[in-house]
């Protein structure tokens, strides 16, 4: 399982970095979202990969076998903050587009 998850993280990082370095604001925001996925999975995976042992306590649950809840809590926070910043970046890129007339990250006009 680890190997799949690692490769997934790697591929998403690649796609995310590639998009992040593109000149169009939309590409950048998509890239940031993609990188967020990669990073969230990374944080998540750090706690170890376990199937079907959600950190939910029941009467008959052996706590030591459960998945590490800490990375999950961290990812939850990261998801929320990622959501917020995506929204923000979106609005800023819209404002930039409105003010400069282009969707280039440097506000440069398109060569025509």
């Amino acid at each position: 399982m680890e190997i799949i998850l690692s490769i997934a993280i790697g591929v998403m990082t690649t796609c995310g970095v590639w998009l992040l370095l593109r000149p169009r604001t939309y590409q950048v925001i998509v890239g940031l979202s993609m990188l967020s996925y990669a990073v969230n999975l990374f944080i998540f995976g750090v706690g170890g990969v376990k199937t079907n042992v959600p950190p939910l306590l029941g009467d008959d649950v052996v706590t030591s076998s459960l998945a590490d809840p800490v990375p999950q809590a961290l990812v939850l926070t990261a998801i929320v903050i990622g959501f917020a910043t995506t929204a923000l970046f979106l609005v800023v890129l819209l404002a930039s587009r409105g003010l400069t007339g282009t969707d280039h990250v440097d506000g440069r006009g398109d060569r025509k």
Binding site: T51, N52, P54, L56
Partner: protein
Amino acid sequence: MSAIIIFTAVSLAQLMIGAAMAIAAVRMFRGPRAQDRIIGLDALYINAMLLLVTFGIGTGRVVYFEAALVIGMLGFVSTVALAKFLMRGEVIE
């Protein structure tokens, strides 16, 4: 015995659903038009939901039900928004 039956059935079902998801993804990839991609995403959502339910059966846990229910209840919202965007060029007027 019943465990083996269920295990086999769940595995087979998941494989089929997985194939269905792959096909949906192919549609999202190939299009040819935006509506095809959107409907592909919708199908992917539904199939994912089915996958989660089978996963629940396979693991014998009900806690994964919530995720499936969220897809069932709210999964359509993004599709609606996408469709409206196609139709009107604007999501909220």
